[in-house]
């Protein structure tokens, strides 16, 4: 029987250690009653490192090589090589939660800097150092609303156009807190504020809106939405992502209480949906924030030092009265996002975001020019993505496009959605060409 390649024991050491412990072999150390013991096999053949690399490469090579024009909450931006090289440093990637801050200042500082970047991007004064993803961050904002809002109500209002995954996660978190998720109408891709105002009221604990919306529209009524929330004492949670926040209206300036969304738009290549939940909120909710917070303090010599703080909010101290059950989070992904943001700097970030506006406009216009499709670019501003109305059934067109090597979203019977970033912008002409052939 060959052992684990990652257990360093030589046979002689194992023997000496068994001897020290006073047993003949390791099996004696297992205190498992026979009735529940396992002596079968999993049937998993061990392979060499080389074999596994080849096997996984072979498997993944079976994924079709499509140019993806996909977004709707998971975005691909070019991640500079320096991000990988730095984040992969063993001291970062093989470390753990900073329970001993004296020897983990490096990661703590990196997370403190990440929090600070989000503070700048959102204008809110608190950002935690990660949630799992945008959906769980949104869900956590609802339970926060439940804790901090003293309205009699239990309704969480979300836009009718919302990514299904987000709604489902939100619903699962709301259920346990006896909250109900309801929708308010949209008007051509952005919030129908009048309808929202009508729906708002005493029974609403939170209003959620997105900018850009799931269809890529830039929301034009943020201030009005903020006012509705304010008047009805509902928490105003705004969904966005770190790239969009670089140029779009600052959430704090429109009255957002909480900002949630996808921070993995920086630092992460497309990763089959793996994300980084952004969670920022106003100062007043300090002791109700879910997740980890890094704070600056001082060490015994009076030097600035960083530490996890306000841990009494967390499950390992407060158990069932914790603000969330989150423990293992996305810290390393947050590190990646921070390095990416630092590498871009404010110029690079703004350039990137501006490209997301311009490219979307250009390609939408090009598709709109084709007969058989219209892309609604004239009425709204778009960020990265936009919907395309097709004369023929959308699913069939998407299938045809896939055969030509392009992936787009099907979001309705006659609706497609297209997302452009610098990663696929070079193939945009080819996509338009393909569209013209299949429409």
């Amino acid at each position: 029987m060959s052992g684990s390649p990652y257990a360093p024991h030589t046979p002689a050491e194992t023997a000496a250690m068994l001897d020290a412990v006073g047993v003949d072999d390791e099996e004696e150390l297992f205190d498992i009653p026979e009735e529940v013991a396992f002596d079968g096999e999993f049937g998993i053949e061990p392979r060499t490192e080389r074999e596994i690399r080849a096997e996984c490469a072979r498997l993944l090579a079976r994924n079709d090589d499509l140019t993806e024009f996909l977004g709707r909450g998971h975005y691909g931006h070019y991640v500079p090589s320096v991000v990988d090289h730095l984040a992969d440093r063993a001291e970062f990637i093989t470390s753990y939660t900073q329970y001993q801050p004296e020897i983990t200042q490096g990661f703590l500082q990196a997370l403190f800097e990440y929090q600070s970047m989000l503070v700048e991007l959102t204008g809110l004064s608190i950002a935690n150092c990660s949630m799992y993803d945008a959906a769980t961050a949104l869900a956590e904002s609802a339970t926060l609303a439940d804790r901090v809002r003293s309205t009699t109500g239990d309704v969480v209002l979300v836009p009718e156009q919302l990514r299904e995954g987000k709604r489902e996660v939100l619903t699962n978190y709301c259920d346990g807190a006896d909250l109900t998720v309801e929708t308010y109408p949209m008007d051509d891709g952005i919030v129908d504020v009048d309808a929202l105002a009508e729906r708002a009221g005493e029974d609403v604990v939170m209003i959620y809106a997105e900018n850009p919306t799931v269809r890529g529209c830039i929301e034009e009524h943020l201030t009005a939405i903020g006012e509705v929330a304010d008047e009805t004492d509902a928490l105003f949670t705004l969904g966005s992502d770190v790239v969009a926040l670089s140029v779009l209206q600052e959430p704090a300036s429109v009255g957002a209480d909480v900002v949630v969304g996808e921070a993995g738009a920086l630092g992460m290549p497309p990763a089959y949906g793996m994300g980084l939940g952004l969670f920022a909120c106003a100062e007043e909710f300090l002791r109700q924030v879910p997740g980890r917070l890094v704070g600056a303090g001082e060490d015994a010599e009076g030097t600035r030092a960083y530490t996890l703080t306000l841990q009494t909010r967390e499950q390992h101290i407060r158990k069932e009265r914790a603000t969330s059950n989150i423990c293992t989070n996305q810290a390393w992904v947050a590190l990646r996002a921070a390095i990416h943001a630092a590498t871009l700097g404010p110029d690079g970030l703004v350039d990137l975001a501006n490209d997301c506006v311009r490219e979307a406009e250009t390609i939408a216009a090009a598709i709109d020019d084709l007969s058989g499709a219209s892309a609604p670019v004239h009425d709204r501003h778009h960020f990265r993505e936009f919907a395309v109305r097709t004369d023929q059934p959308a699913a069939a067109i998407a299938g045809d496009l896939e055969r030509k090597g392009f992936a787009v979203h099907v979001i309705g019977e006659h609706l497609l959605q297209v997302c452009v970033t610098e990663l696929n912008a070079g193939e945009a002409d080819a996509l338009v060409e393909a569209f013209s052939e299949v429409l």
Partner: protein, 477 residues
């Protein structure tokens, strides 16, 4: 002062690596730069603007100020910090795996096949019938599992309000049950550190939705009465949830499914050595018995045999919906697959054997008392009349990372220690010596410790009283 390179400090200035913001920020006029109407943009954006060489130095320095498993032992009990094989990073870096989650099933057959393979591996290892890979961490797995239990009871037309949890359980168990809307019934630990079967019997009833249990428990003790425990819960109509954080101790020796558990999560960043740098990301796949498979989150992956494609995603009939916006932490899952494939049956079994041997060997070498036994992969030593947290700071002085302290509560001044299989005998001896020396140090020395670390002792209470959570908040004090 062995690893102190010619350092980066300037006399009279802050001795640490400055914040990025302190190295220079820039304000961009966004209104001017953006093609959007001013009303839709922010006014300006102020962020650090280092060049790439500066970024490289900044993070290189920060990394050098951080302890990691590649630095030395990291025996945090219950956290299972074991060596993260390097090659799993390369496997995960394959650009062919960097696909969007909204791709058609047909176009990502490779990804689906790999994930389906992982589902099977995990099912075999846990003795479960079906596994979802969606939960992004152990706690999310717990939440998933409890939601499944809830959905099951609801479908049975059976409204149950309580989840029973032993006092020694991890905080996430309690928080999870509460998040799912359950009342928590806390079960005090028995005399022997394990579940008190009589107390359990008394606590369980028709309101019991589930019992959440870790086995071996958080001080490494196997719940020998697990069969009886299972019967009690099942007889009352409840389900058994297995918290997989300690599965490393059981690999090849016992399977939750065989012990009567109905739902479990796997902590792949513990048991299967995927890195979770700085605290995450992890993944918390959930396994269930056949009866519960219809409740699994959507999308689930299965093989299809209609000849068109090999694997597809679908929504289980009574799916609880979703616990993650997409399909979970893909990069962690692929590393899990690679790790399990590398070890195979024999390696997994050996990992458990050596993890348990290491814990027992280390326990032999240290002077602290260990209240209960026999333990497996971890043990709860007690610092007795010393402050466990102080002893831990003292250990820093001797070049190791200390164990988890002051938890679980059933061990007074607990030092919960889990060396894992990744430490050699020499490394364990070193760890033991640090343990013993810190334990023997006088109060004054402990109070002054650590002195040889990046930062001296940090006043965490003060940091919490005066929270400064961003560079914007510095100076505001």
């Amino acid at each position: 002062m062995i690893y102190d390179q010619a350092s980066y400090t300037r006399e009279g200035e802050d001795r640490h690596e400055p914040l990025l913001s302190e190295k220079g920020q820039k304000t961009v006029d966004v209104e001017e730069a953006s093609p959007l109407p001013d009303a839709l943009t922010r006014d300006e954006l102020t962020l650090p603007n280092p060049s790439e060489p500066e970024v490289a130095r900044h993070y290189t320095r920060l990394s050098q100020m951080n302890w990691a498993i590649d630095s030395g032992p990291y025996p945090l009990g219950s956290c299972t910090m074991k060596y993260n094989p390097k090659f799993i990073e390369d496997v995960a870096a394959d650009p062919n795996g960097a696909v969007h989650p909204d791709r058609s099933d047909r176009s990502v057959q490779g990804t689906l096949e790999l994930l389906a393979g992982l589902q099977e591996y995990l099912a075999a290892i846990g003795g479960m019938d079906a596994v979802t890979l969606q939960p992004p961490a152990g706690a999310a797995g717990e939440f998933t599992g409890i939601l499944i239990a809830k959905a099951y009871h609801e479908k049975q037309g059976n409204d149950r309000s309580e989840v029973v949890i032993p006092a020694s359980a991890h905080g996430t168990n309690f928080a999870t049950a509460a998040m799912a809307g359950y009342d928590v019934v806390e079960l005090p630990s028995g005399e022997d550190g394990r579940v008190d079967v009589e107390a359990l019997d008394a606590a369980v009833g028709e309101d019991t939705a589930a019992l959440m249990l870790t086995n071996p428990n958080t001080v490494g003790l196997f719940e020998r009465d697990i069969a009886e425990i299972a019967d009690i819960v099942h007889d009352a109509g409840g389900l058994l949830y297995y918290d997989g954080a300690n599965l490393n101790a059981l690999l090849g020796r016992g399977r939750p499914g065989d012990m009567g558990f109905d739902v479990m999560h796997y902590n792949v960043h513990k048991t299967f050595a995927t890195p979770h740098g700085g605290g995450g990301p992890g993944a918390g796949p959930v396994g269930v018995v056949e009866e519960l498979a219809e409740f699994l989150p959507t999308p689930h992956i299965r093989e299809v045999n209609d000849g068109k494609i090999g694997y597809e995603t679908y929504e289980p009939e009574h799916s609880i919906g979703k616990v993650h916006g997409f399909a979970g932490n893909w990069l962690v899952l692929i590393k899990t697959y690679a790790y399990i494939a590398r070890l195979g049956d024999a390696g997994l079994s050996d990992a458990a054997a050596k993890a348990v041997l290491n814990a027992n060997y280390l326990a032999e070498q240290i002077d602290l008392e260990i209240p209960h036994g026999p333990f497996h992969h971890e043990f709860g030593a007690t610092a007795g009349d010393r402050d466990a947290a102080d002893v831990a700071k003292g250990m820093l002085e001797y070049g190791v990372h200390p164990p988890t302290t002051k938890w679980p509560e059933m061990v007074p001044e607990a030092m919960l220690t889990e060396p894992t299989e990744a430490e050699s005998q020499a490394s364990l001896d070193h760890l033991a010596s640090a343990f013993n020396r810190a334990y023997a140090d006088d109060d004054e020395a402990l109070a002054a410790a650590p002195t040889r670390t990046t930062a001296r002792r940090i006043d965490q209470a003060d940091a919490a009283r005066n929270p400064r959570l961003s560079w914007q908040a510095l100076g505001e004090r």
